[in-house]
Amino acid sequence: MSRSIARYAGLGLMLALFVLLVAACATPPPPPPTPATSAPQPPAATSAPAGGATKPIVIGFTASQTGNLNVESKKQTQGLQLWLDDVKKAGGIKLSDGTVVMPEIKFYDDESKTDRVQALYTKLINEDKVDFLISPYSSGLTKAAAVVSEQNDKVMLTTGAADDKTMEQGFKGTYQLYTPASRYLAGAIDLLKKLEPNAKKIAIVNEKDSFSTTVANEAKAYATAQGFEVVLAEGYDTGTTDFAPFINKIAAANPDAIMGGGHFQDGTTFAKQLYEKKVPVKMIALLVAPADAKFTEIGAGAEGVIAPSQWETPVTYSPESAKAANLPWYGPTVSAFVDGYKAKYNEAPSYHAAGGYAAGLLLQKALEDANSTDAAKVKAALDTLNLLTFYGQIKFSTDAKTHGKQAGHTMVYIQWQKGADGKLAKQIVFPLEAKTADAQARQ
């Protein structure tokens, strides 16, 4: 009885599989997936000025909607979407011959994985025929995407990707918006020197990905040059959740300051466990994690933690400061961006969000300057850009070896400090000319 059932089940399964095989071979490439595009917009033609043709373009990228980079990546995507809204409100990007360029974005979830990134960028280029690319979030994923983009002669603006080495391989169409990683912790070391003149020993514990490794190596060299002793330098794997082994080692090395971290998830856990284990140091400076407001969910563990940041809401870039620096100004003011972001997402923008918006903004500027959507002309326009925006100065290296590397943008350092109301607030503490509060040593 049960044998015959099994036989029929087996036969049925075989049949099903055969049908599947035929279907898989017979159907032409699978139907286009339903990507997470932005909300449908009214037909663009209505907003085109009389006489001018509307030219739709598609901007493609992947976002880490899931996986360990989801927090930062989400902000970056939100920033870019806000830019798209603003462009649409303004009726598209107008070229001098009256053509209106109407951008759309198309993106997939890369799950924070490199192999997904390469498969999906190949798909964006070859199947979805996108015109321009934006990078995923993080240096590791961007490095993978850049290879595919360059192999296919695309223009890609990278944001959320600070690693220097990626940008030092003679790329032709890849442009970086972040201040390169090698500078991430230099300011923190300078700050430590000012804050605690007696501090001698630094422990560097960082995530072992391309971005954090570059930061850590540069920090090690800089700290040594500044007369500090690096008493511990070790990396942890991406996705680490138990920092006890590292914390025990740190305690054994008895440093004055701890520097390192990597991205949001691991950095937040690291800070929390450092606090729980009551490690007595005067300064903790971590990458990425503390710059996002979500970091304060770990409570008292966040107090006093310092982080480098590409951008913060109190920055003072303005058309006036552009004039003073003899640079052209482009795009919204800082307050227009912050207000627009708050209105749409009900929260203050982080630097990842600002970077996302800036990526769209710079592409827009390049399209206008090129007066064309032709990739070669847009590249030429990007090469000559040197301007100030709400996000800061932008200028790309045109040297053959480091082509596209960011050469204009600078960073600030933030610290979470307890205000008079007992609540944690993010303050800019360095560089001194931009500070909103004095840096504090940990007790």
Binding site: E234, T241, P245, K249, K277
Partner: protein
């Protein structure tokens, strides 16, 4: 040499070792009773994490109540999994059961990723700390060790002090003979599989009270469980607990001397060497 750091690290390692051991007991028990290596072990541990997480965050239960309910959930899950995926091929060569349990692992991972994504989750459990000199021990870890010990003790009592335990041991020794003695072997096999899964989910629940996790987080504990069961002897649950503590101690001590990243290399090399040299385990289990 910093003795305090070594001591602190060893304590951390041993405490974690109890949880490794608890998870490994599940793998070992199933192998001991029915010669099946459960390749869904890691995903089942992850199910335990999510079960505890959901019970705590969705129903507002105390996380430790969640862990206890997670034990029951694991028992049920294991019984169902045995009846659906394993029973039909229980007498076939090992390859078949390996593939069957691996299929279940793929199903859990696939559905779990779809339902929960791979974004890390964490339970924020805080019950204070115990401090003495350079050693700071988190309360959550102490409670986790106590629960692990209680569950391990409970399993021992069940196997050696009850009729059901006697039947399970009879089935493990000789299934055909047990059947002849009137023992319902299918029920015993399913129950044992359930017990193995329950140990895994309980360990998972305890891990969830300590660390952030994703649906893939069971993987590293599964691999550690493999190392532990070979240390303690395949099919020997008591050996697994001791093996777990040994592995935890090894991790705690070695991390002080070498970069933490090299520890897994050492673990897997030990694993392969023991398999080659003493496949019955260092602690000399039954063959």
């Amino acid at each position: 040499m910093n003795w305090e750091a070594l001591f602190a690290s060893a304590i951390d390692g041993i405490m974690l070792g109890f949880i490794y051991g608890l998870a490994a007991m599940g793998l070992s028990l199933i192998f001991g009773v029915m010669r099946v290596i459960n390749l869904a072990h890691g995903p089942i541990i992850a199910l335990g994490m999510f079960s505890t997480y959901l019970l705590t965050t969705q129903l507002g239960l105390n996380p430790y109540v969640g862990v206890v309910l997670t034990l029951m959930f694991g028992l049920l899950f294991g019984i169902v999994m045995y009846l659906v995926a394993v029973h039909r091929v229980i007498n076939q060569p090992e390859l078949t059961t390996l593939l069957a349990t691996f299929a279940v692992s793929l199903i859990i991972i696939g559905l779990g990723t779809a339902a929960f994504t791979t974004t890390p989750r964490a339970l924020d459990v805080d019950v204070g700390t115990l401090q003495s000199g350079a050693v700071t021990i988190l309360g959550t870890r102490i409670i986790a060790v106590l629960i692990a010990l209680a569950v391990a003790g409970g399993l021992y009592g069940l196997l050696y002090r009850t009729r059901v335990g006697k039947s399970i041991r009879a089935v493990a020794n000789n299934r055909a003979a047990a059947e002849l003695m009137g023992i319902n072997t299918t029920a015993m096999l399913a129950f044992s599989f359930g017990l193995g899964a329950a140990l895994a989910t309980t360990a998972g629940g305890l891990i969830a009270t300590l660390f952030a996790f994703t649906i893939l987080a069971g993987g590293s504990f599964e691999l550690k469980s493999f190392v532990i069961v070979v240390l303690g002897g395949l099919g020997n649950p008591t050996g697994a607990l001791i093996g777990g503590i040994l592995l935890g101690l090894l991790e705690g001590v070695t991390t002080i001397f070498i970069p933490v990243g090299w520890v897994p290399v050492i673990e897997y090399v030990i694993f392969i060497l023991i398999l080659l040299v003493r496949p019955n385990g260092l602690l000399g289990a039954r063959a």
